[in-house]
Amino acid sequence: MPTFKLDGREISFEPGETVIEAAWRVGIEIPHYCWHPGLSIAANCRMCLVHITSGRQMEMPQLELDEETGEYVPATKPKLQPACQLGAVEGMEVSSTNEVVKKAQAAVQEFLLLNHPVDCPICDQAGECKLQDYYQEHQGTLKRKLTEPVHKPKGVRFGPTIVYDAERCIMCTRCIRVSDELAKDHVLDMRERGDRNEIVLAPGRELDHKYTLMTEHVCPVGALTSSDFRFKARVWFLKSRPSVCTGCATGCNTHADYDPRNGKVYRLRPRDNPDVNEFWMCDDGMMTYTRHDTDRLLMPTAGRGEERTPILEGDALELAAEKLSNVESSKLGVVLSAQHTTEDNLALVKLAQALGAEHLYLAALGGWEGDDILRSEDNNPNRAGAMRAAGGVALKPVGDLLTDVQSGSVQGVLALGARTAERLEELAPLVVLDAVVSLTTHVGALSAVAAVAIPVADTFEIEGSFVNEKGMEQAFEPVLAAPIGVEPGWRTIAALAGLLGHDLGFEDLQGLRRGLGTEVEAAQ
């Protein structure tokens, strides 16, 4: 592999790579605003200027102030190159830290702050803002301009998800490029020039494609803010844990940002994974975190239909076990869930095997549009994992369960998860059965028809893994603590099995995974 030298350090590069890209791959950050590894090169922010110290030196004429005479005299200065556009060349020597470059960085940074409003105290970006970071690192001087800064529109609604502040904008065009290149929708563009520059919508349009939140995500400053996250939290109070999106079968890798003080997730951010989602996520995926708190089942409930009464824990599992033991095992229908982890499903399959239940179904969601960018046609995060857990046994759809109940071949149901494509009215045949037990994270159609519904922990609260549509097994760790008294699904299933007189043969998650026969790749 060819190499070049950056600040005295040898860096190898693929032919065709730029200096900034090769440095980024080995973990060196050359300061930049407009460059993004997933987007085309704009080279307009001028922050990544570097000095090529080898070869023939290019000089630029300039006037320099002679301190003694007080007159400007002709002089030259080295010509700098933007590292984002500069192709790496074998043996080239580049400096990103020498005095010439430092001066340029400070000057660029000062220019960018020239008309910037004093918004840090009310800006959502404060704390993760490149302007703040680079000011501290590369500028460190106070304001020299004494005139009023240029004023531009603030709080412009770009669409249902994004609000734009032109004063904070540094015109890096990342949002334009992410719309053009990721969403393939040229809905944003720039107008005017100089300090009147502004990002605008295409006439008659709103920013409403499926990847609008990525414009906010790539914005290096606080110009684009998400309507959802706006004014909700201060980023320095948030902690971050790696997780996996539950929106569809792509299984985009995420950072879940939560506030440890109240145990609440405030947003998701895409986590770079070149094999799955590169740098991106879709809007629906970004918003899946809101599902966590919505319609949670926190207490076990008993009843029929939607009128339900809470039952004390402990009693609930015993009640479930009692009801299930009244059903002949060959007539017990077991419903796996494409929303739950492979481990939860595997524990349920083991219980079905121990009981000798023959009818296995799979509850899955539908009603969603895929695309050829990131969104899979299947909006269940773990259909492949549930099928893998079933170990080759054919999983019938929930529609078949209804037919089987009506024909009398199924007289009891043990279901994991509450979300299914079927509506509550369609599940009415299940209400006549006495032994319908639902182990679920949320309130949904399946839990509503259950005689006993028992809460289990949600994706954010457990260790587990999903298998995406490419067959990649992606493990994740808990982000939050589960509510008191709520256990992971696999543990609840093991406890239920114990009450039914069966030992499923595992003590912990590792023991359970051994039953899967594959090693699970840990989350980064």
Partner: protein
Amino acid sequence: MEPADELLEEESALELQTEPMRLNMGPSHPAMHGTVRMVLDLDGETIVNLDLQPGYLHRGFEKSCERGTWAQVFPYVDRLNYVSPMLNNVGWSLAVEKLLGIEVPERCQYYRVILGELSRITDHFTCNGASAMELGAFTPFLWLLKVRDWIWDILEKETGARMTHSFGRIGGMAAPPTATFKDDLRAVIPELHKVVKEAEIMLIRNRIFLDRMQGVGILTKEQALAYGCTGPVARGSGVAYDVRKDHPYMVYDRFDFEVPIGEDGDNWDRFMVRFEEVRQSIRIIEQAMEQMPDDGPVNVDDPRIVFPEKSDVYDTIEATIAHFKLVMEGLQTPKGEVYSFTEGGNGELGFYIVSDGSGTPYRVRVRPPCWYNLTACREMLIGEMIADIVPTFGSINMIGGECDR
């Protein structure tokens, strides 16, 4: 010579052989200035053995430093030797500035010297005044504390607080000297001279005082060196070590001053060394006043180190960002470790700091001069009488806040 003394010379004429007795002195005892406990093994009234047990004032100072920013350590150092907090402020500023490799403007260095020396005078006044009071001489104590209050008036005017100033800053001071600073000093300096003289007149020919101080609590030069004693304790024993002289920092090499030393290493020498140091401190202050420029910057010119003016923070984005970064992430220091030491009220006050390159100290270790002086206290007291504990322990000037941290 009194008859009892004559009898004493005949061996053990007055010695009453008694059963050894163990006695707890402190931690809560009027003579145990900063809650320290002494377990005494007594033969009659003579101390046979002595177990010194400090630590009752341990607050976890060093650990506390690891959870804030570098600047947030100032209120903690105020509470080390709280009798001379400004010296600690200056010591901490210098330590972090050494890590950063910066030097504050000259005006600030003089300002720090003057405020620090004022603090040293209050420290010595407190110690000597309390020593006299504990031996029954209440008047000099009141006189000294009266003048100490005048010094505190100056410090209050300059810093806003009489004791816990939190006035030091990394890269400067919280505020420039007030317009009347030098006039205030000129007004109080003659009073300092006067009160030292008056206190000495009251004490140095006082038979009771002399008997309790001279030849009591002896620490030899060798012992002082062996225990790592510094400051007035070491100098009382004849060790001419003063950080200001031997390793000059700030502008101390520009001043003409003496390092007083004692000969016998007894309470008397330590007492007299402190009074003489007050005179030397006044000399330093007088010279510093002459040399200190009346205008010019006090803080280094870098908003990444020193907080920008509040008016700028409200009006300009650059200052807002600098302020935000300094508050939220703290001053960024290079990775590394330094030991920086200054002459504190009780001797060499050292800060050993380790930085992992972040805005928070990775580790802070203080070399509290009291600690080493306190350990030597055992040598001074074994063989003495119980009553000698009071002046001897007083002459150590053990300050719990600094010793126990």
